[in-house]
């Protein structure tokens, strides 16, 4: 399984990378961690003439607080994210999701931006981006534009990114409101570390009376893109969360799902399991926020 021939250029700066991609057009692909791209090259499913390697661009790695968001630069390794105190303190849902991403060998090379750009509908990091309403920054040689995560994703592995654009950073909103924030993340895969078949993430903010003031719920693997469950969120906000309430809030979410049917799970399996995992993610989020479900 040897890749078809290509050229490889190690970009020395952000401008350099953007210029190279601008010139290459649809013949060029960006190489970050390579954990997804290199197998595709090996199977000759991807056949770029040039790979633009962004691993050496210092400006494009890093995790910092930027205003009310945690700004993660695209080529930040997943391992760095997993170890990051900034993420642990400010993005509890991402912190809960990261241990589910692959294996340590893949996290040592795989990048946060790469995972988001790839857009596997069940993948953990895209799911968190959608749940929290992250802002994705796309740059080309000539322009820079922010895109909300849930408009970014348009279908399985299909996004709003143009061929001459590189995803350079993602801003994940920090919940600074008064109260206690908690998060829960669940996924099911055949083996630990495998691609998720179905994934679910929830983050809630509870006030002192245990009333839910804010909720973010998203599910992966049940449509072409990670899906934000805004209706369910709306039904939870303003209430003390109970099992019954959650049950009611999640009624009918299956109607909005259009899951794939493959050997890893039938469409019906995905629908039913999504329901279960969302419930569990919410229960965990509530417990994490110091509450309890009646």
């Amino acid at each position: 399984m040897k890749a078809a021939p290509f050229d490889h250029i190690a970009a020395t700066s952000a401008e350099h990378a953007l210029q190279l991609l601008g010139e290459a057009g649809d013949d060029g692909m960006v190489l970050a961690g390579g954990q997804t791209l290199v197998p595709m090259l090996a199977m000759r499913l991807a056949r770029p003439s040039v790979l633009i390697d962004i691993n050496g661009i210092a400006d494009w790695a890093g995790i910092d607080v930027s205003g009310d968001a945690v700004r993660i630069k695209t080529a930040t390794r997943q391992t760095a994210a997993l170890k990051s105190d900034v993420i642990a303190e400010n993005l509890p849902l991402l912190a809960k999701a990261l241990p589910w991403v692959g294996h340590h060998q893949t996290r040592n090379r795989g990048t946060v931006g790469g995972s988001i750009a790839h857009g596997d509908p069940a993948a953990e990091i895209p799911l968190v981006a959608v749940a929290l309403g992250a802002e994705i920054k796309l740059h080309s040689q000539t322009a820079a534009r922010p895109v909300a995560a849930d408009s970014f994703y348009q279908g399985p592995m299909m996004s709003d990114r143009n061929e001459d654009e590189i995803l350079v950073e993602i801003d994940f909103p920090i919940w600074r409101d008064a109260g206690r924030t908690g998060a829960g993340f669940h996924e099911v895969a055949e083996r630990h570390g495998d691609f998720a078949v179905v994934s679910a993430g929830a983050q809630v903010l509870l006030d002192d009376a245990g009333v839910c003031q804010k909720a973010a719920i998203a599910v992966g693997g049940v449509s072409g893109t990670p899906a934000r469950l805004r209706d369910a969120e709306a039904n939870l906000i303003g209430n003390v969360l109970s099992e019954n309430l959650i049950d009611e809030a999640l009624t009918g979410i299956g109607d909005h799902m259009d899951p794939a049917d493959d050997l890893h799970g039938s469409a019906d399996y995905r629908r039913r399991v999504a329901r279960v995992l969302i419930g569990r993610a919410l229960a965990d989020a509530v417990a994490d926020a110091g509450g309890s479900l009646s």
Binding site: M1, K2, A4, P5, M43, R44, V188, E190, R191, H192, G193, D194, F195, D262, L263, H264, G265, S266, D268, Y269, R272, V273, V276, L277, R280
Partner: protein, 800 residues
């Protein structure tokens, strides 16, 4: 308990380092990819995307013109110049060549091969070959394939049926008529295989100067060189297979005969350049023809109110894909233990092998005993549930008893020794069974699903392939032998030579340990080498869980011959009768006067240099070859098709403890306990490793592994993302306990142990999952029991 009580072994049954491990940990293993021959060229293959199609044309012009390309080969040329590859069943019109000829018969079948300076150039050129196909309607379901109007996988064969037999052993109808109960069920063993981490690879070089073909390969099979010679139309004594290539796992499947004939033909065609073909993983999964059993059982079991199983009727339909090879014989080997470890009185067996448009089949670890044990244990559990008896009690009631060995089973095979009750007892104790029940019940009380599995399985070992004759009477073979040569060199070092390959079983350690034991010399200083097939020794290869018995026995036999020679030299020089001699760590003394002795060095010197001191007629040097025939082998079936198959029977009791997440169907194996009895254990670490490794393989077959095909014949499990194998997260730390009922038939009481984990784990896992489902009145009879299957069943159950 690794050795019979009272035995006083110095090296056998003692924990000792495995010799082979040193080169593996230092990265110095020599696998096929590490064999370096100057000027080697490399092959890449073009695969057909269609499950069934006519090849209308192949245009290789652009490929031939590509940089670095030496030649492009198609099936037409091979069909003209080579003979079809071997099949076990009697199917002369079912022709198999390394490249498809006129028709392609499964998605992934090789249609053309490119030879180039390197693998990159070869793969680049493969993309330039243009093939025009006429897709045809495939047949994918084995039961559909048996119907008269089914598309024919091999039109010249006239049928998709590859073999069908009907055996009745004992008074089946009377036993069924007299039984209090009869249960019928269908069981399904899904298409899976043992999939080693190293793919198959072979390199061939035709040497015109000596008119010989040299072959190196990652190989594990009997008659490899014969099949190469036959296909290449070469005399057998011009084929030299190097058998000292380290094989990165095989567990039965590395047969690679079509890969080998491909590179052999190419090397000859290209005037003797070495040609190498290493499967990449995509080629391996779809085109390697290494899929395992894919079997449907229809079973009736007749039993009494007391849970005594009297008889079984078994119909087994196995899908061997487009090219059977020896695959269908996996319906025959289980005849050795068709009734398992139970005193079942009679059995009716109706095996059928059928071709479909799928990847070809190959013998897999256990040669069909795994699926068969799965079916037998399902039957026993169903009997227990039906009678509301404990699954343990039913087994205890039906087990052959310790005082009944050798036990003759209805198909004509005697089980040599065993104590199934004690092994099960020891396993229950290891598992702290009552506590497991308590844990299970606590999980259930909390509203979740948990189950304990009981699996009791025989591992026939030693290898006696008379089942081939039962399935194809043209195969008159009654010799199942293994040879070993032992040599003491001129400085007193011991060398053992074995005649076949090794794929992780530690044969060098096996031979060195036995030779060390017999000669009372440190096995670490004994060298074991692999003869190539020309220098060769008679061998049937390391299949059939046979090497401890057969290679061990051959090594022992050769050692005894050399020891006899040493004694004769000593008797002659000390002038005493042989009976008066004492052997001590290689020195031989006069028992009546121990000061009169000859040291090892002196004996060796006499043998190698002092012809004047040798007894009359003795050959100089110290070497002996021993070729062992399989114990109890040599007979053909009687008029009732009864015959002794394998000689030695190992036994395991498996007790897994699982929890099932009712929301996702995901199974977690919390604990796995196994009790194993393989007679004398030559090397405890090797045996423990093989047993636990077999369990992991079995967990894979039980819960995860399947080669899936769409209804349209498309192959869906081509990568390791889609064919899921257990990691350490999916296999618990296995706890084991040993028992030893030595075989009376072998050199040190040893039996085989290489398959048992795999032969019992799928059965035990099915028992565990079904125990978890039992309170809901649900059960599964199909492997693998994937989380999606379990969840769907639970969902159906809730909505019934």
């Amino acid at each position: 308990m690794s050795a019979p009580p009272g035995s006083n072994y110095h090296y056998v049954a003692r924990k000792r380092r495995v010799k082979e491990d040193k080169r593996f940990v230092t990265g110095k293993g020599k696998y096929i990819q590490d064999v370096a021959v100057q000027d080697t060229k490399h092959v890449a293959v073009l695969a057909s995307p269609h499950p069934r199609a006519k090849i209308l044309s192949i245009n290789a012009e652009a490929a031939l013109a590509a940089p670095g390309v030496l030649t492009v080969l198609t099936g037409d040329e091979l069909a003209e110049h080579t003979s079809p590859l071997y099949h076990g069943p009697d199917v002369p019109n079912l022709r198999w060549y390394p490249l498809a000829h006129q028709l392609t018969r499964y998605a992934g079948e090789w249609v053309a091969a490119v030879v180039a300076e390197d693998r990159y150039a070869a793969e680049d050129a493969v993309e330039l070959i243009e093939v025009v196909y006429e897709p045809l309607e495939p047949v994918v379901d084995p039961e559909e394939a048996l119907k008269p109007d089914a598309p024919l996988v091999h039109p010249d064969q006239g049928t998709n049926l590859v073999l069908e037999k009907d055996f009745v052993w004992g008074p089946v109808e009377e036993d069924f008529a007299a039984a209090d109960h009869v249960l019928s069920f269908r069981a399904r063993w899904g298409r899976s295989s043992t999939v080693p981490i190293e793919t198959f690879g072979a390199m061939a070089q035709w040497d015109g100067g000596t008119e010989s073909l040299q072959v190196w390969a990652s190989i594990q099979m009997p008659n490899y060189q014969e099949q190469i010679a036959n296909a290449m139309r070469l005399p057998l004594n011009s084929v030299r297979v190097h058998q000292d290539v380290d094989v990165g796992g095989s567990y039965g499947v590395k047969r690679g005969i079509k890969h080998t004939v491909l590179v052999a033909y190419l090397s000859k065609k290209l005037g003797g350049v070495p040609v190498c073909f290493i499967e990449d993983r995509l080629t391996n999964m779809s085109g390697g023809d290494a899929h395992g059993p894919d079997r449907i059982f229809y079973t009736d079991v007749a039993f009494t109110n007391d849970g005594v199983i009297k008889s079984m009727k078994i119909k087994a339909i196995d899908d061997c894909g487009a090219y059977p090879g020896r695959g269908p014989f996996q319906l025959g080997k289980p005849i050795a233990a068709l009734v398992g470890p139970y005193k079942i009185n009679s059995v009716h067996y109706h095996p059928i092998s059928v071709s479909t448009n799928k990847t070809g089949q190959v013998p897999v670890r256990g040669m069909g005993q795994g699926p068969t044990n799965f079916m037998i244990e399902l039957a026993v559990d169903k009997v227990a549930r039906h009678l509301k008896m404990h699954r343990i009690e039913v087994r205890q009631r039906n087990f052959v008893r310790h005082d009944e060995f050798p036990y003759l089973n209805p198909t004509g095979t005697k089980y040599d020794s065993g104590d199934y009750h004690t092994v099960l007892e020891k396993t229950l104790e290891l598992a702290d069974f009552q506590n497991l029940v308590k844990r299970r019940d606590e999980i259930r009380a909390a509203g979740n699903l948990a189950g304990i599995g009981i699996g009791a399985c025989l591992e026939p070992s030693g290898g006696n392939n008379m089942f081939e004759y039962l399935l194809n009477p043209k195969l008159e073979i009654s010799t199942f032998m293994e040879g070993c040569q032992v040599r003491i060199d001129s400085t007193g070092n011991i060398i053992g030579t074995m005649g076949t390959t090794t794929s992780g079983q530690g044969h060098e350690t096996l031979v060195a340990t036995i030779l060390g034991e017999e000669f009372q010399k440190d096995p670490d200083e004994i060298r074991v080498i692999h003869a190539d097939t020309l220098a060769g020794l008679p061998t049937r290869s390391p299949v059939a869980s046979r090497m401890a018995v057969m290679l061990g026995g051959a090594a022992d036999g050769a050692a005894q011959k050399v020891k006899k020679q040493l004694h004769e030299i000593a008797a002659h020089n000390l002038e005493v009768p042989i009976g008066q001699l004492e052997y001590n760590n290689g020195d031989i003394s006069d028992r009546n006067d121990p000061s009169r002795k000859l040291t090892w060095a002196e004996l060796v010197n006499i043998a190698h240099r002092r012809y004047d001191l040798l007894p009359d007629g003795m050959e100089p040097g110290l070497q002996a070859l021993h070729v062992m025939q399989v114990p109890l082998g040599g007979d053909y079936p009687d008029e009732n098709n009864r015959v002794q198959l394998y000689p030695c029977f190992s036994f395991q009791a498996h007790i897994p403890f699982v929890e099932i997440d009712p929301g996702t169907g995901k199974v977690t194996v919390h604990e796995y306990f196994i009790g194993h009895d393989c007679g004398t254990v030559i090397n405890p670490d090797i045996v423990r490793g093989m047993i636990i490794g077999g369990v992991a393989h079995g967990i894979g077959a039980a819960l995860y592994e399947k080669f899936s095909y769409g209804e349209d014949g498309q192959f869906l499990s081509g990568t390791f993302v889609d064919y899921v194998m257990p990691s350490t997260f999916e296999v618990p730390y296995v706890k084991d306990v040993e028992h030893c009922t030595p075989s009376p038939l072998t050199s040190h009481g040893q039996k085989g142990s290489g398959e048992g984990g795999y032969l019992g784990a799928p059965a035990a896992m099915a028992s565990a999952v079904n125990d978890a489902l039992y309170p809901l009145g649900l059960s599964l009879e199909e492997l693998p029991m994937r989380m999606t299957d379990i969840e769907a069943l639970l969902h159906e159950g809730r909505h019934k």
